[in-house]
């Protein structure tokens, strides 16, 4: 399984065509306390770059974009009652949705962990 990152601070874990998407720890630290998360419906068809989910925090409402194209297979229902999971464990239990990739080639445009670290360091 490998993890990729976007410039919009999403991460995506990929295992074959199955993937899990979340926002990075840097993103949650910038958003502040998260109060509500709008999740995509199972079966929703996503295009790369589509706005899929909205994360509300005490500071702002922010869009989360699809890192790659595909179909939503599950959303993290635990976030409905515990949006703070994204604050406490953005990389793990705070995942947002799972999806089935339609074009694995799109992963080529994303960053690996080292490149993302450099990217955040430059912000």
């Amino acid at each position: 399984m490998s993890r990729y990152f976007t410039k919009d601070h999403e991460w995506i874990d990929v295992d074959g065509t199955a993937a899990t998407v979340g926002v990075t720890d840097y993103a949650q630290s910038q958003l502040g306390d998260i109060t509500f998360i709008e999740l995509p419906a199972e079966g929703a068809v996503l295009g790369k770059g589509d706005s899929v989910s909205v994360v509300d925090s005490v500071k702002a409402a922010s869009d989360v974009y699809a890192p790659v194209s595909g179909t939503v297979t599950a959303a993290n229902g635990a976030l409905v009652d515990q949006p703070e999971l994204v604050n406490s464990d953005a990389d793990g239990d705070g995942w947002l949705w799972k999806m089935d990739l339609s074009d694995a080639g799109e992963l080529d445009g994303l960053m690996d962990e080292a490149a993302y670290k450099d990217f955040v360091g430059g912000l």
Binding site: D33, T35, F36, D56, V58, K59, A60
Partner: protein, 517 residues
């Protein structure tokens, strides 16, 4: 009002200070009164009104309550005291500087208030025959002429009830104009420097919203915008001066490019107070622009209204303006154009934005403001607003990061970021500290293009002494944030309530008194 009273006794001079640890039995502190919730002080057993018993007859079929509603009953003096006590915990423009950038809070001249309360304006009804309300209609018509003149536009829709309502009116005019030429388009472009309501309005009007990035100096990226124009773009919504407090210098070039591509230019005129009397948006190629009367023309604002957002329109869009509107007859009387008489002269109106003529009380105040200032006075309003904001910007930029400070003067508001604060200290801490200093905080965390944004608008009516006191407070707070003063982290300390748990309030809000659930 602006300087500390140097001659009188002050709490820190001795016994009775907040720090003295004195605990009162009532919870009141001196004449600062604590107040319980209305549900806690009222009861079903009390009633402030002597109701008739009634004849006891119940009409057939009426649904009856199974149990009494547990609404609090209070006597009239209890009710008056309750709300007066609460109002004393409020902060208002009549108490001090209200630096809420992006939503101008400025002095409401008392002359305007006096005129708005005259019975001929305040006590008329919108359904009265027009012959009996000629004075009120003349106010609407004269204000409309002023707005057209000040903006250099062709027409104006007076009925929208607020800024965002005006935005919707402008976009519906654009939609109607495009449909009338058989060229419906799908996309509205909104730059990052625009007000947050702009994309919401475009989406509400049925358009797809696409963002246009800002340049490093906080303005619309003209090249990126031009590159995106095409036959699917209905128009662009630009806030000018923008929400970074900067004038969009390329406005004319943007408008020319949009027009060449067959689109329309909507300008968010909320910040018109920075340019009134100096710039006419019509000269910049704007097709539609709302004017927040409460901002530029100083009608009251706060508590959500009442707002008023007339929309000035170009020659291309004016035929689609919503009904009703006023028209002057040959004999000088004012006539109201409505559905029944729009006839052949105005067949293209897209409909109505509101049931009647618009926000009459605001019209009266705005016209009184315009006439009492005159053309030269309005020009001074924008000049002083910009001067005050630049005085603030230059007085604070050595202790607070001003991301666009080097790009030149700002307009009516100055933008700062949290760069340079000690680790763990944020814009929110500084804003809470401002409450201890006796000021309403500025707009925080907006615009989003700046990290930890603080948008400060002093307005033109603040004196230099008032600004200096605010600057002194801001400088001290900025230095505490840079030094990492732990007391700032837990501010406010002196307000009726300490720092509230905003996260818990957002995650688990209690919106109803428990007994009513």
């Amino acid at each position: 009002m602006n300087a500390v009273n140097a001659s009188g006794w002050r709490p820190e001079m001795g016994e009775g200070s907040v720090e003295s640890g004195i605990v009162t039995t009532t919870g009141n502190r001196g004449l600062q009164l604590e107040e319980a919730l209305i549900f806690e002080i009222g009861s079903l057993a009390h009633c402030g009104v002597d109701f008739d018993e009634g004849d006891g007859e119940v009409l057939d079929g009426l649904p009856l309550r199974a149990a009494p509603v547990d609404l609090p009953g209070l006597s009239e003096p209890e009710t008056v005291r309750h709300y007066t006590r609460l109002s004393r915990q409020n902060y208002a423009i009549d108490l001090g500087l209200f630096p809420l950038g992006s939503c101008t809070m400025k002095h409401n001249p008392r002359l305007d208030e006096k005129i708005a309360r005259m019975p001929g304006f305040a006590d008329v009804h919108p359904l009265q025959p027009v012959q009996t309300v000629q004075g009120a209609l003349k106010v609407i018509d004269e204000l409309a002429q002023w707005l057209i003149t000040l903006t250099g536009m062709h027409g104006v829709a007076m009925t929208p009830k607020a800024g965002a309502h005006g935005e919707l009116c402008g976009l519906l005019c654009i939609r109607a104009a495009l449909e009338a030429r058989g060229d419906p388009r799908a996309v509205i472009l909104v730059p990052e420097s625009a007000h947050g309501t702009n994309p919401a309005t475009a989406a509400f009007a049925g358009y797809r919203v696409e963002n246009i990035p800002a340049t490093a100096d906080g303005r619309v990226d003209l090249a990126a915008l031009t590159a995106r124009l095409g036959p699917d773009v209905a128009g662009v919504m630009i806030t000018n001066p923008n929400t970074c407090g900067l004038f969009e210098r390329d406005m004319k070039a943007i408008a020319d490019a949009v027009h060449a591509a067959g689109g329309f230019v909507y300008c968010d005129g909320a910040n018109f107070n920075a340019i009134v009397g100096r710039v006419r948006p019509g000269d910049l190629g704007v097709d539609a622009m709302h004017i927040n009367l409460h901002k530029t023309f100083s009608t009251p604002h706060g508590g959500g209204g009442p707002g008023s957002g007339p929309v000035v329109l170009s020659e291309a869009l004016a035929p689609f303006a919503p009904l009703p509107f006023t028209a002057r007859q040959a004999d000088g009387s004012i006539h109201l154009i409505e559905e029944e008489n729009a006839g052949e002269d105005h067949p293209n109106s897209f409909g109505r934005m509101s049931a009647f003529h618009g926000q009459m009380g605001m019209f009266t105040r705005a016209l009184a403001y315009i006439l009492s200032h005159g053309a030269d006075g309005l020009r001074q309003v924008s000049g002083d607003a910009v001067l005050n904001a630049n005085y603030l910007l230059r007085s604070l930029e050595d202790v607070l990061d001003a991301p666009f400070g080097a790009a030149g003067p700002c307009m009516h508001e100055a933008l700062f970021s949290d760069a340079g604060f000690a680790k763990g200290f944020s814009t929110l801490d500084l804003a809470k500290g401002l409450i201890d200093e006796g000021f309403h905080p500025m707009t925080v965390y907006f615009p989003l293009v700046v990290h930890g944004a603080m948008l400060v608008e002093p307005t033109e009516t603040e004196s230099k002494a008032g600004l200096d006191q605010f600057i002194a407070a801001m400088r001290s707070l900025a230095e505490r944030a840079r030094a990492g003063d732990p007391l700032l982290k837990s501010a406010p300390h002196l307000a009726p309530r300490r720092r509230l748990d905003e996260t818990l309030a957002a995650r688990k809000p209690k919106l109803v008194w428990p007994k009513l659930v």
